[in-house]
């Protein structure tokens, strides 16, 4: 507890330190110069200078996602703030806790169309969990502390504090966070009677399935441990969303792989055929459900979510449980043990037999010839090369490579997989990798990328070089925007409109120009050596892997289709022609 006079700019630094911030990702500009000046005169907070503000937000997301802490961003007014918008919405969609401080023109100029003025709180209102414009230096400390409190409480999300330049110069009283009591208090504790009912339903079900998501990871590592124990104890199969990968170990035989549009055959058919779906910390997003009216039609549904508005939003559920995923899982474990239930594995033998039959379809199979590298093969070789290494973090860009990474890389631990799920932001992976590597200097951090996505934030290569961050960029280069191409082939009559990049840079030279190392693998014969070299070369490395240009990502549930209409290969197209389905055409 303390009270001290200082400038607004100094308060910012004090508040960041008092809220546990060690690293800020940012970019200076006119409206934040007082804060940068205060930063220059202290040593508690480190600053990472990105090359574009959008990179700062994704880096903070990577930092937050891999540490479980609040990521912090500092950018200037106007274009600094608008460049940050995509990242803020990305964090909002994926529930990543961030605090973003934006400079603003002095209070007397607000509304004047002043130089580098933007209505930042207006623009960011729908893409933040909450935002503030601070017009009184005496309110600054409280606002900053509340911003951190809101960002990390309940369902986490990005919070923005817009700070006019005159407030940064003004002197006021700084108070530490413990002096404030914030009224925002979301409920964490699930209702015990609901938990008991959930266990009752689980103990009776004949074809139950756990469907888990990013909420388990957001709840902290103990939630993933509780989930793993509960799944093993009950003997029930488990599938995960893209955001939830790693909460339950992918190598466990009870794991069915990811579900949804590019999920595994067994996960999707199990979702379709189960009689009880236990959703923990996921939100029945359209990429998971496909056609809502045909989603898991024969099941009763339990939905555990910290955000009451996620419940019954897309899919009606039978038992809603509002609360923290980790608390709910711990309580379920307690009740399961207390009531002396036995593992259901034997009772569920017919269900497991059915699942094994689906597994036998081997939905991720592909044909690797002796020359052209299949993207799936590239990832399998990467996985092989990483085997036995403990400290591996994967980020991705967005598209086919992202789905293949989710399918082929093994995620056995939470917080080791960073991807843009809800917003699907191309250009996320490299800056996110920068943020992850800042938090975990000794770790192997790999951005699995496509050649199109990587160009969206390639400037952050320069950041990686400046801070000597040994991030590895694994480009699966098929020269096409692969996912766009796939949809054009499947849904738009093979008219490949603008999905080919005709003038790609030489990525090896590009890496070199930035001061990193560039490598290339052209054929199957080059691949293993190139991967080994990528991993053993110090500093940032780009490995440009030439992959099959026309390979498609399967399985695929076409937009507007049900899970049992899943396509396993190109030839399935004729069987269920997605172009015939108008609803599917309009979905993205």
């Amino acid at each position: 507890m303390s009270e001290q006079q200082m400038s607004g700019a100094e308060m910012v630094l004090a508040a960041l330190a008092d809220n546990g911030v060690e690293i800020v990702f940012g970019y200076p500009g006119g409206a934040v110069l007082p804060i940068y000046d205060a930063m220059f005169q202290q040593e508690r907070i480190r600053h990472v200078l990105v090359r574009q503000e959008g990179g700062a937000v994704h880096a903070a997301e990577g930092y937050a996602r891999s540490t479980g802490r609040v990521g912090c961003v500092l950018v200037t007014s106007g274009p600094g703030a608008t460049n940050a918008v995509t990242g803020l919405l990305d964090a909002q969609m994926d529930s990543i806790p961030l605090v973003c401080i934006t400079g603003q023109v002095p209070t007397h100029l607000i509304g004047n169309d002043a130089f580098q003025e933007a209505d930042t709180t207006g623009i960011t209102r729908p893409c933040t969990k909450h935002n503030y414009l601070v017009k009184d230096v005496e309110k600054l400390a409280e606002t900053l502390h509340e911003a951190f409190h809101v960002a990390r409480s309940g369902r986490p999300g990005p919070v923005l504090v817009d700070l006019p330049k005159d407030i940064q110069f003004a002197t006021g009283t700084y108070r530490t966070p413990d002096e404030f009591d914030f009224s925002y208090r979301p409920a964490y504790e699930p209702d015990m009677t609901q938990i008991v009912r959930a266990i009752e339903m689980i103990a009776k079900a004949e074809r139950p399935l756990f469907y888990t998501g990013g909420g388990v990871i957001n709840s902290g590592p103990q939630a993933s441990e509780a989930l793993t124990e509960l799944v093993r104890l009950t003997g029930i199969p488990c599938t995960s969303t893209l955001m939830g990968l790693g909460a339950f170990p992918a190598s466990d035989p009870q794991f069915l792989g990811m579900l949804g549009m590019h999920g595994t055959y067994e996960a999707n058919l199990a979702t379709h055929g189960c009689d009880l779906l236990v959703c923990v910390g996921a939100r029945f997003d359209d990429r998971v459900t496909g056609k809502v009216s045909a989603f898991s039609p024969g099941s009763r549904k339990i939905h555990i979510d910290i955000d009451a508005s996620s419940i019954n939003k897309n899919v009606r559920v039978d038992l809603p449980v509002v609360g923290d995923a980790g608390r709910a899982l711990a309580m379920m474990l307690e009740v399961w043990k207390e009531q002396g239930h036995e593992c259901r594995a034997r009772a569920l033998a017919p269900w497991w037999k059915q699942i094994d039959a689906w597994r036998a379809v081997d939905c991720l199979a592909y044909e690797q010839g002796d020359s052209v590298i299949k993207p799936q093969y590239a990832l399998e070789r990467l996985r092989e090369a990483l085997k036995g290494r403990d400290n591996v973090y994967i980020t991705t860009e967005v598209g086919q490579h992202q789905m293949w990474a989710a399918q082929f890389l093994p995620f056995d631990k939470p917080n080791h997989w960073m991807t843009s799920g809800g917003l699907g932001t191309m250009g996320y992976g490299l800056p996110a990798a920068v943020g992850v590597q800042m938090a975990h200097p000794g770790a192997i951090v790999i951005d699995v990328a496509g050649e199109a996505s990587i160009l969206m934030n390639i400037q952050e290569m320069s950041t990686a070089v400046q801070y000597r961050l040994p991030v590895k960029i694994f480009i699966m280069n098929n020269k096409w925007m692969g996912m766009v191409r796939q949809w054009q082939e499947l849904l738009h009559g093979g008219r490949f409109s603008e999905s080919y990049t005709a003038a790609l840079p030489d990525f090896v030279k590009l890496a070199d120009a930035f001061g990193g190392t560039g490598l290339r693998a052209e054929t199957v014969a080059d691949l293993d050596e190139a991967i080994a070299k990528m991993l053993s070369t110090p500093g940032p490395v780009i490995l440009d892997v030439a992959v099959d240009e026309t390979e498609m990502c399967f399985p695929m549930i076409p937009g507007g289709a049900a899970h049992n209409e899943i396509m396993l290969r190109r030839q399935d197209q004729t069987k269920s022609d997605p172009t015939a389905r108008e609803e599917g055409m309009v979905l993205v």
Partner: protein, 182 residues
Amino acid sequence: MTDIGNANRIERHTLAVLVVNEPGVLARVIGLFAGRGYNIESLTVAEVERADVRHSVGLSRITLVTSGTHMIIDQIKTQLERLVPIRRVRDLTEEGPFVGRELALVKIVGESGAENARRGDVLRIAEGFGARIIDSSESSFVFEVTESTEKVDQFLAMMAGLGRLEVARTGIVALSRGPESI
């Protein structure tokens, strides 16, 4: 079949929302409705508790009339509850009987100067609805009527044939009946 019928039935609900009176709070509420495609049929807002020595923040009360399926109404309430400056959300329609009133100012202008017969009709109707005359000229009146939305609608319908109307309405404010409060 009946289930599906019920699920798709459009209901109209009156919500009482207590919010911290800070800049931008109304924009948050309206932005939520606009961004998610919900309806606002009427919305009134004013401060009901001033910030003072006892209260660190001022509170405003929003009375909001909206319509949608049961699932949408539930979404609206939980989405509102999610907003940081929102203190309480009550569904008056669901939670029991409530009283709702709105105030309308109604100007009626005679078609061709003052016509005495019509003036008499206008005044008789106004009296029947308890409308107060708050302005008058040779060819016009301004009435103030405070009633339920339905009653105000009736009043306007009856006046419509008697002259040219200009109407300003507040939208309803509402409180639950009985001793319970928000």
